[in-house]
Amino acid sequence: MNWQVLTLTVQLATLTALILVLAGVPLALWLAFSPRRWKFLVEAVVAMPLVLPPTVLGFYLLVAFGNATALGRWYQRLTGSTLAFTFTGLVVASVLYSLPFAVHPMAAGFRGVDRKLIDAARTLGVSQRTIYRRVVLPLAWPGLLAGLVLSFAHTVGEFGVVLMVGGNIPGVTRTLSIDIYDQVQSLNYAAANQTAAALLIFSYGLLCLVYGLNRSFVWSGR
């Protein structure tokens, strides 16, 4: 097992999951409670990474990062280098790619909160912010946790986007999935098998955690 690759992957997934919780909670709250009619337009955008092949995102990100776009040129002037082939670039890509995996369970969690409790809090004169903080968030925590865990797991399992914008630099952009691909390409089936099997077990454990938590929540909630 290549520890550098593992550490890098865990760092990438952790950072991505944290960013997605920070950005995902307000977005999920809005999706769950906003009365806006055009909400479905935003919902569709959030869900896009579920249906698009990673190559679409990877291709557009590579072009956007390069010097063919104003955005790419601006970033290169600012920092002296392109976002492609950097850890930061991978974080940007992963946040976009794992967005629905964070937002969907969170929004589902928020929607599941009993409306009567929210209305009760409101009649008691509590501000909207406090209702979110003291009533909605604590009741929706399994959804939040599922969003966190799933976006982490999905980032660990990311391949296509990383392959297209990462550049496979050891310690910077070589993640577990890329490493496995390299091992297979180099015909090191034994090494590939080792990493792949570890990932298989890890993913199963993580998903058991998510579903297990959901189950105990449903039971205790009834």
Binding site: G80, Y181, Q185
Partner: protein, 282 residues
């Protein structure tokens, strides 16, 4: 982009060809369709080679382009391919060792390495005593794209050439790895890497010509990239497949390969029969 869509198209053709061939040929003897798995540096040349062969023999060729390592693994696992054109001799040799080839390995071309820069990159690629790559030390260069040396022949050649010019350790931190030689080119063409070490055949393609320029890396600075082809044992069309490999060594095919940036292969397989009999260990 162009190479990508072409690859997809050829895969589609390959898939479609699998089911449709007998219907089209009426009462005369069925004309077989050869399925050729070709290294991605052949992407531009393959159309002309296939057309030339079809004109001469009446045998149609369906091409799938991709990385030689991938095709190797697929053929090993029973992919329905008649001819495998690798960018590297080692994959056909490994197939031969595991008894999955028919007949001799045929070297058909020699790949040539170039250093390519975008028009916007300010870099003087003039050779300093034959050391073209010495210029890559320049602080103006922040990213150098090469193919992954672990499984791409051009990647191995790139590393060897950088070492030959004494700059590998100095530029190591600037290197980004493409999965195959086409992706390596695309890293530079999209403006994300300043320089790419790629196949001449790719540097000659239209999008790369338009957006940049290249200089040949001297042949003596890296081990030769011997491209070789082989007939796959499970092929149902072995005589036709063999004929196609023979066509690749003809004067006509040579001149097509030349025009797409390939050199002549070095030694031909010295003694194919002895190799087949002994199955060497290397």
């Amino acid at each position: 982009m162009f190479a990508l869509s072409r690859t997809l198209l050829s895969l589609l053709l390959l898939a479609a060809g699998a089911g449709t061939q007998p219907a089209s040929t009426g009462q005369t003897k069925t004309v077989p369709e050869l399925k050729v798995a070709a290294a991605s540096d052949l992407s531009a040349a393959m159309d002309k080679l296939a057309a030339g062969f079809e004109k001469q023999s009446g045998i149609h060729i369906a091409v799938a382009l991709g990385s030689s390592g991938n095709f190797f693994a697929q053929i090993q696992n029973g992919a329905p391919v008649d001819v495998f054109l690798s960018a590297d001799k080692s994959y056909p040799e490994k197939l031969k060792q595991s008894g999955q080839t028919d007949g001799a390995i045929v070297p058909y071309a020699r790949g040539q390495l170039v250093v390519w820069t975008a028009n916007s990159t300010r870099l003087d690629l003039a050779s300093k005593d034959g050391h073209v790559l010495a210029a890559l030390q320049s602080p103006a260069i922040s990213k150098i794209a090469i193919a992954n040396p672990e499984h791409a022949p051009y990647g191995r050649a790139a590393v060897a050439a950088l070492m030959h010019d004494g700059v590998y350790d100095l530029v190591k931190s600037k290197i980004v790895l493409g999965e195959n030689i086409s992706q390596t080119a695309q890293f530079a063409q999209s403006g994300n890497a300043d320089v790419a070490l790629i196949a001449l055949s790719l540097a000659l393609s239209e999008p790369m010509q338009k957006s940049g320029h290249y200089v040949l890396v001297p042949q003596n600075s890296y081990p030769p990239i011997e491209q070789a082809g082989v007939v796959v044992k499970s092929s149902q069309h072995k005589p036709e497949a063999r004929r196609f490999l023979e066509y690749l060594t003809s004067a006509e095919a040579r001149s097509i390969l030349h025009s797409f940036g390939f050199g002549d292969p070095g030694l031909t397989d010295p003694n194919p029969d002895s190799i087949r009999a002994e199955a060497p260990q290397k």
